[in-house]
Structures are given as structure tokens and as C-alpha cells.
């Protein structure tokens, strides 16, 4: 292997690894705050990437239907709860958040799509369509089970994943799509051509990671999230509502998922179910980091990206097998480290 191929593989690995790192952070955030293993993150990536590709070709992506009908379902649930608790004053807010907002986004997309707006407008529209899906998902599927065990929440995640992949096939079809790059520029760096797209990905990831750090360290909402992650009951006792932190973590995760999808759309051809695999690679990264530490999760995800890049060079057909097989040695290590009888599941 020549130095140029090596450098190219490293670049490729870091680009993908940066995206996996973002996903690993989001998954870890959701897991520590809500104990949800957020498998449907993968579908958010798919939705964002494929919606961008469809907007580019002047079509209205089916994501708007998911947004509008998901919003209506969440509104119905909220309304039933509000009526049952005789808190009618909440109804306008519910209608605003879960009905009017999605409809407004849908209208904007309908209007804009055939007019082929600039790429940055497309990106904003995609974010507006995909990010609200996080809280909507939380409201419909997870909030009623907020106190359930990790395993029950995991099954819920698989059910949501099932629904969303099915919808993805209906709305985006079985063919792969790829959007055009943000920039075709290349820079010469030593022996290797660095593409502007890779720089975009790495820069965007860094910006989001720093923003997340600032959020956790400086803002009251970030502190509420951290408090809930450390001790859920304690956080509730000091007045941090679990519902708020749940919605917030899903909002952040959906944002990160959408950004990841937008970043990856020009790099890889995505199919209706590709996001599932991409999201799981983020999980492998988070597990490499022991499912507890953010920096370790990001490093683990970077390692996943590099391993994937090099294994696609040496054994392309077994790329996925190698990446997902990587989890085995890690689990061996974690298993040797754990000494206690495993903590019990709560009844």
C-alpha cells in the first residue's frame, strides 16, 4: 500500500468516523438521560439524507407526511391527557406545537421544493422536517413508558425502528440516492488531496461537539440533562421534570441525526434502510467507549470509521462483518473488567 492510498484511507476513515462520533454522542446522551437505546436514530439519518436528495431533484419528500401525521398523533395523545386532567388551557399550546408547526413546515416544503432553492435553504428545510420528529417520537412511543426497564424501552425502540423503516421504503422507494457535494474544491495536503466535503464534515462535527460541551457546562438545560443522567430520582426531587429532559435529549439527538444525514448524503449512496447500519456503527463506537464517557465514545467512533475504511480496502465484502464483529473483543474486555454479580433489573 502506497502512502497516498494510506493517506486517502485515513481521510475517508476520519470523515466517516467524525459522523459516527456525532451519532455516538447523541446515542449516549439519550441513553444516559432516558435509558433508551435509540435505534431509530438511524432512520432519522436516512430521512435527512434522502429528503435532501429529493429536494435537490425538486420533489417533495415523504418526510412531511411523517411529520404531519406524527404531530397529529402526538397532539391527540396530549389532548386526551389534557382533557382527562381538565387542563384545557394547554390545548392551544398543543395545537401550536404539534399541529400548526408541522403543517407550516410541510407548507414551506411544498412551496419551496419545485422552485429548487439554494442548497442552504434545502438544508434548513430538512432540519425543520426531521428535528421535530425526535420529540414527537418521544411523546408517542417512549413517554408513556418512561419508568419501564431498559429492556422494555429497547423493544419499543425496535418497534419504532420497524415502523420508520417501513415508512422509509414507502416514501423513498428501494433505489439509492445521493445528494451533490457542498463543494467540489480540493486541497493538496502533502501527498493527499483533501476534499472540501471531508473538511466540512470534520468541521461541522467539531462545532457540534464544542456546542454540546458548552450546552452541558454552561446552560441550565444542559445541567438538567447531566443531573438526570447521573441520578434520575434525585433530579426529579430537585424539580427537574423527566418529561422535559426526555424531550430535550430526543430533540438534540434528532438534530444530530439530521445533521449526520445531511453530512453523509453527498459521500455515500443511501438506501431506505442504510441509516440503521450507520446508526449502529455509532453504537459500536459508544460501546467501545464503555457506554459512559463522551470523549471515549467519540474516540471509539473514530476508530470504527478508520477500521471500516481500511477493511473496505482489504476485504470489501466483509466490511460490515468486520466492523460489527469488532464489538466482540470489546465485550470480552468489558466482561473481564466487570467483577460483580450483575445489577438486577427492576420489577
Amino acid at each position: 500500500m502506497g502512502a497516498d492510498i494510506f493517506a486517502w484511507l485515513v481521510q475517508d476513515g476520519i470523515t466517516n468516523g467524525a459522523i459516527y462520533a456525532l451519532l455516538a454522542l447523541a446515542l449516549l446522551l439519550v441513553f444516559t438521560v432516558t435509558r433508551v437505546i435509540f435505534v431509530p436514530q438511524g432512520e432519522l439519518i436516512t430521512f435527512a439524507a434522502l429528503s435532501l436528495a429529493m429536494l435537490e431533484s425538486g420533489r417533495v419528500p415523504g418526510t412531511v407526511y411523517i411529520l404531519v401525521f406524527g404531530g397529529l398523533a402526538a397532539a391527540a395523545i396530549e389532548a386526551v391527557v389534557a382533557l382527562r386532567e381538565h387542563r384545557l388551557r394547554r390545548l392551544p399550546r398543543i395545537a401550536m406545537l404539534y399541529v400548526a408547526l408541522p403543517l407550516a413546515v410541510a407548507a414551506a416544503v411544498w412551496w419551496a421544493a419545485p422552485r429548487r432553492p439554494d442548497q442552504w435553504v434545502q438544508v434548513l428545510l430538512v432540519l425543520a422536517m426531521v428535528v421535530p420528529l425526535g420529540p414527537i417520537m418521544y411523546r408517542i412511543a417512549y413517554q408513556p413508558l418512561a419508568s419501564a426497564s431498559v429492556l422494555v424501552l429497547f423493544i419499543v425502540s425496535m418497534a419504532v425502528h420497524y415502523v420508520l423503516t417501513g415508512l422509509s421504503l414507502v416514501f423513498f422507494g428501494g433505489e439509492g440516492l445521493r445528494s451533490s457535494a457542498f463543494s467540489d474544491a480540493k486541497f493538496r495536503l502533502g501527498v493527499v488531496d483533501v476534499t472540501a466535503q471531508s473538511l466540512w464534515v470534520v468541521l461541522a462535527s467539531l462545532v457540534i461537539i464544542v456546542a454540546l460541551w458548552l450546552l452541558f457546562e454552561r446552560s441550565i438545560y444542559g445541567k438538567a440533562l447531566r443531573a438526570t443522567a447521573i441520578n434520575r430520582v434525585g433530579a426529579r426531587l430537585v424539580g427537574i421534570p423527566t418529561v422535559l429532559t426526555g424531550h430535550l435529549s430526543f430533540l438534540l439527538a434528532a438534530f444530530i441525526g439530521a445533521v449526520s444525514g445531511i453530512l453523509i448524503a453527498p459521500i455515500t449512496t443511501l438506501y431506505y434502510d442504510t441509516g440503521f447500519l450507520i446508526g449502529l456503527k455509532g453504537f459500536v463506537g459508544a460501546i467501545l467507549g464503555g457506554m459512559a464517557s463522551y470523549p471515549l465514545a467519540a474516540l471509539g467512533a473514530l476508530a470504527v470509521g478508520l477500521l471500516e475504511s481500511f477493511s473496505s480496502f482489504w476485504a470489501s465484502a466483509y466490511k460490515e462483518t468486520i466492523v460489527f464483529g469488532l464489538i466482540v473483543p470489546v465485550l470480552v474486555w468489558l466482561s473481564l473488567r466487570s467483577r460483580h454479580v450483575e445489577e438486577e433489573e427492576r420489577e
Binding site: A159, G166, T321, S338, V341
Partner: protein, 589 residues
């Protein structure tokens, strides 16, 4: 006959009649149901009963199917050799995967099962040996005593004979010594370890059994369809198996049949009906599956089986049957009264920055009742946990009958005839009082999972249950023998805890606040019971808050405050000790 038995009899009658009545299409569908039931049954034991969740069972189905596929088509071997090879390969793989995952906490196993599900799917799809994505065609039929099983009806007989046998074996397993231990794994692993159950090993056994059932299903599948391809073993199939277990009721053996039947039929029906409503093609059934799962998980998390069981039981609970009389279990020879029994020397235990126990030393002799008292938070329960091996000591020595035990795990300490109760009642809520107490006698039996499945354990089982019933009677709860322990009052549950500890035939009994929540009369009978035990030679270490209860009962007392021993002596000395009075009533500054 109970409604449950009638339902099972009807089901078997239906199975016998089905191939003669149903058209070929439905017989084929029944075959798919049988194949799915086998895999789901494994998941019921794994997920619902033992609390280990797997989305990767389709991989083991794949091992079973591919092993026989390759051997019979490439090497022309007999399907029976294929069966053996598939099971052997699965066993090795499951042991390897199980060894590294079942010890880890809850969420690692499901995530890693997803990961290896994907890894093996792509491996199946790219390996030349197994025909890449095209798969293996022309797998021969199974022949049995010269009869070649070609038809769907022939396969039906084989598939359902195997499935029924597996259901029966699983049913037998859960109703046995090992089964009670397995049922304690999910919520009561610490308690199980304290009664000598090797929970990690048992989880591995359950994991292996579930994998072998899946492999068996794969073997049947390959020879029934004469064809295997990676498509049958993708991640979605693994998720569907888990959905089947959840729909049926993940903790009940017969829930596997219900879940597998419902979802297989529903999928077939949806595939038939949904495309009529939509122009495009698509996997509409997965959308419906997912949407149906959500309300089910929100409203009936335990699945449909408990709902059905409740319907059947509406006419009042079946009365508890006392187990038949059986020869008593052998009793252990204890140490002579007055021999040194338990000794702590300089024991330390920290939780982060908090020293829960500091430099604690005391001795206890055989045949005495020693009281360990102190205000809340003094570290008494921590001492119990250190002595019984539930928590490791940070420093110091614990000796039992002269030998160091501080480095031993809880289950090894249980073998030395130390039994305990828990401050927070630690019973398996869904299990009857009798079965809960029988867990205490776990180490007094020896029959394992295999003999339980084949019902070769009945003699021992009768003796274990008889012993358990004797201990239940001793604590005065014979009237509640068959009731689920969760339905008892808290005070009664504490008595069940004591009965369970007694069933272990302990030399040393550690009781953590046994009198809490008892009424006056109950306390008196408890005190009488403890005196009787002492007379029989059992030594008792007692943590208790009720001073009247303690003072009238114990020989000596050890008093702790803030993790340290502040006094030791006879009851009347302790009552007059100024340090003790200060600890309990607060000093005057």
C-alpha cells in the same frame, strides 16, 4: 381438570387433527408456526424468564440450516449428520458469545446481538462455501426409518413432534430445582447467589438452550424448504422472533405458541391484504407490526398469555396442594456448642468517601444468638453483606469455623451453610410461597437442567418440596403454600424469607430485621421459633431494631454506630452503657 390443562389438551387434539383436515396451504403455514415456536420458546426462557434479551436468534437458526445445507449438498452427508454438526457448531458459538456477554449488564447483550446479527448476515451473504446471497439449493429430505419426509404433511409431523417435545421439556424445566433458580435470575440474582446458585453459569445454560432450539429450527427449516439463503436470517427476522415472544407473554412457555401463531398468521394476512390498498410495493406489514407493538407494550407489557390465564382462572384460584410426603433430606452435622464460629477482624467497607464499616471486630460462638444493633445507618446490613459475600470487604478478615471467607463469592459462602434473610424482602414475586422456600434448599439437591427436562428429577424434587413445605409450616404459613409470594402481607413475606433460609439447613443463620412489620403475637411466635432453632444447634446473628424483642432473646450484643463497634456485652450491660444510650438518644452537648 384445570382450564389450563383443558386448553393444552384441546391444542394437542387440534394439532393431531390438523393435517387430515386442513388444506395444504394451511399445513405449510402451521409448519412455519412450529418452526417459529421453537425459536420463540428459547426467547421466552431467555428473555421473559431469565431477563436476557436477544435480537440475534436468527443467527443460530442460520447455523443450523447452513450446517446441514453444506454437509448434505456439498459432501453428500446424511441430514442426521447435518443435525449433529449444526447443533455442535451452534453450541460452540453460543458458548463463546455467551461467555463474553451474559455477565455484562442488561443492555449490552441486546446491542451485541444486533451487531452479530448484522455481522453474520453479511458473512452468510459473502461466503463462497454457503453460496453467497444465492444460498444453497437442493437440500435433500430427511429420511426416518427408510421413510423419506418429502411432503408438507410429513414435515408437519416431524416439526410439531419436535416442537411439542421442546415445549414439554421447557415446561418441565421451569417446574424444577434449576427452573426455580432460572426464574430468580431476572430480578433476584443477588438472592440466588446467596443461596448457592451460580447465576452466570445458569444464564449461560439458558442462552445455550435457546441457541440450540434455534439451531434445531434451522435444521428443520432447511430440510422442509430444501433451500436456504441469507434473506431468511436477516436482522428483521431476529426482531420478529422477539416480538413473538413479547406478544405471547415472554414469561410463559405456552406464550411462545400464541406469539408465534398470531404473528405468523398476521404477517401472512397482512401480506395478502395490504398491497390491495397501496399502489406501490413495500413492506407494509412491518409498519403494522411496529404500530401494533406500541400499544401492546404500553398497555399489556407482559403479553397476551397472562391475560388469557386470568380469563381461565376467573372461577377462583386452584387450592394449594401440599406436596406428597417424601423422605427427609439429609441434615448437616453442625459444630459443637461453644466452638468458635464466626470471627471478624478489622473489617473495613467504604462506599466512595463514606466509611460504612470501620475496623469492626467481633467473635461469635456456635449455639449462640448474637444481636447486632445500632441506629439507622450504623452499617449493620453492610456487615451482613460482607459476611455473606454479597459485598467484598475493603480490608480485614472474616473467618468461619477457622477458615478465611472474605475473598469468597456469595455462592461459595452459601455452601458453608451460612443462610440469610434480606432487609428488603427478596422473594420472587410471581412464584408461590412453596417454590420460594424451595430455592433455599437449592444446594441440598443436585439434579440439573437435563434431568429436569426429562423428568428424571422427581424423587429429589419431592424431597426438596417436602422439606420446603416443612419449613413453611414451621413459620406458620401452611395456609398460603400455593399463593404467589407477592400477594402476602409484608410481615408474612419476612417469615417466608426466614423459611427459605431455614430450608438451606444452615449452621449460621443471619436475620436482617426479621421482626419488622410483625404484629405482637407474630413476634412472640418468631421469638419462640428462634429459641427452638438455637436449641437444635443453629447459631443466629440477628440485626433488629425492636429492643424488647432483642433483649429477651440474645446471649450477647454488639452495638454499632457510624460503622464502628461502640460496645459489646450482655444485654443488661449494654442497656446501662452510656455510649449506647448516647448513640440512641443523642448526647447532651
Amino acid at each position: 381438570m384445570s382450564p389450563g390443562r383443558i386448553a393444552i389438551a384441546l391444542f394437542i387434539a387440534y394439532l393431531l387433527a390438523a393435517p387430515f383436515v386442513l388444506p395444504e396451504f394451511y399445513v405449510t403455514l402451521m409448519n412455519y408456526i412450529g418452526l417459529a415456536t421453537l425459536v420463540t420458546l428459547g426467547l421466552v426462557l431467555l428473555t421473559g424468564v431469565a431477563g436476557l434479551m436477544s435480537f440475534g436468534q436468527q443467527v443460530f437458526v442460520g447455523f443450523g440450516a447452513y450446517a446441514t445445507g453444506v454437509l448434505t449438498t456439498v459432501y453428500g452427508a446424511s441430514p442426521w449428520l447435518g443435525l449433529g454438526a449444526g447443533l455442535a457448531f451452534t453450541a460452540v458459538a453460543a458458548l463463546a458469545l455467551g461467555l463474553i456477554t451474559v455477565r455484562l449488564s442488561g443492555h449490552y447483550l441486546p446491542i451485541s446481538t444486533l451487531a452479530w446479527g448484522i455481522a453474520f448476515y453479511f458473512a452468510f451473504g459473502n461466503l463462497e462455501l454457503v453460496g453467497r446471497y444465492d444460498g444453497i439449493q437442493g437440500i435433500p429430505a430427511i429420511s426416518l426409518f427408510g421413510w423419506s419426509i418429502e411432503s408438507g404433511r410429513g414435515s408437519y409431523a416431524l416439526i410439531w413432534a419436535v416442537t411439542l417435545a421442546a415445549l414439554l421439556a421447557a415446561h418441565n424445566l421451569l417446574d424444577s430445582r434449576s427452573g426455580r433458580a432460572i426464574r430468580a435470575l431476572r430480578f433476584r440474582a443477588v438472592m440466588a447467589e446467596s443461596f448457592g446458585i451460580d447465576t452466570a453459569r445458569l444464564k449461560l445454560v439458558v442462552f445455550l438452550y435457546a441457541a440450540l432450539l434455534a439451531s434445531l429450527s434451522g435444521w428443520l427449516y432447511a430440510h422442509f424448504l430444501h433451500f436456504v439463503s441469507p434473506g431468511a436470517f436477516n436482522v428483521n427476522i431476529g426482531i420478529e422472533y422477539l416480538f413473538m415472544a413479547v406478544v405471547g407473554g415472554a414469561s410463559q412457555v405456552w406464550g411462545a405458541v400464541i406469539g408465534a401463531s398470531l404473528l405468523t398468521l398476521l404477517k401472512e394476512w397482512l401480506k395478502d391484504i395490504l398491497p390491495r390498498f397501496f399502489e406501490q410495493s413495500g413492506n407494509y406489514e412491518v409498519i403494522v407490526f411496529g404500530l401494533l407493538m406500541l400499544p401492546l407494550l404500553h398497555r399489556a407489557r407482559d403479553g397476551l398469555m397472562p391475560v388469557l390465564a386470568r380469563l381461565g382462572r376467573r372461577n377462583g384460584r386452584a387450592p394449594a396442594r401440599a406436596p406428597r410426603a417424601a423422605p427427609a433430606l439429609a441434615r448437616r452435622a453442625g459444630p459443637a456448642a461453644g466452638e468458635p464460629l464466626l470471627g471478624l477482624a478489622g473489617v473495613h467497607k467504604n462506599f466512595g468517601g463514606l466509611a460504612a464499616v470501620r475496623a469492626l471486630s467481633f467473635e461469635m460462638r456456635a449455639g449462640e444468638i448474637l444481636g447486632l444493633i445500632g441506629p439507622n445507618g450504623a452499617g449493620k446490613s453492610t456487615v451482613f453483606n460482607v459476611v455473606t459475600g454479597v459485598l467484598p470487604a475493603d480490608a480485614g478478615e472474616v473467618r468461619f469455623r477457622g477458615a478465611r471467607i472474605d475473598a469468597l463469592p456469595a455462592r461459595r459462602i452459601a455452601r458453608l451453610a451460612i443462610a440469610r434473610t434480606f432487609q428488603h424482602v427478596n422473594l420472587v414475586g410471581g412464584m408461590s410461597v412453596l417454590e420460594n422456600v424451595a430455592i433455599g434448599a437449592h444446594l441440598r439437591g443436585a439434579k440439573g437442567t437435563a434431568s429436569a427436562m426429562l423428568r428424571l428429577d422427581r424423587e429429589e424434587e419431592r424431597r426438596l418440596l417436602h422439606e420446603a413445605a416443612r419449613q413453611v409450616e414451621r413459620v406458620g404459613l401452611s395456609a398460603h403454600l400455593g399463593e404467589p409470594s407477592a400477594s402476602l402481607a409484608l410481615g408474612q413475606q419476612r417469615m417466608v424469607e426466614i423459611a427459605r433460609a431455614l430450608a438451606a439447613d444452615p449452621v449460621l443463620l443471619l436475620l436482617d430485621e426479621p421482626a419488622a412489620g410483625l404484629r405482637f403475637q407474630e413476634k412472640r411466635s418468631l421469638a419462640a421459633l428462634l429459641r427452638r432453632l438455637r436449641a437444635e444447634g443453629t447459631s443466629i446473628l440477628l440485626v433488629e431494631h425492636d429492643m424488647d424483642f432483642v433483649m429477651g432473646l440474645v446471649e450477647r450484643l454488639v452495638v454499632m454506630d457510624f460503622g464502628e463497634k461502640i460496645a459489646e456485652g450482655l444485654p443488661h450491660e449494654i442497656q446501662a452503657n452510656p455510649l449506647v444510650i448516647e448513640a440512641y438518644l443523642g448526647g447532651i452537648e
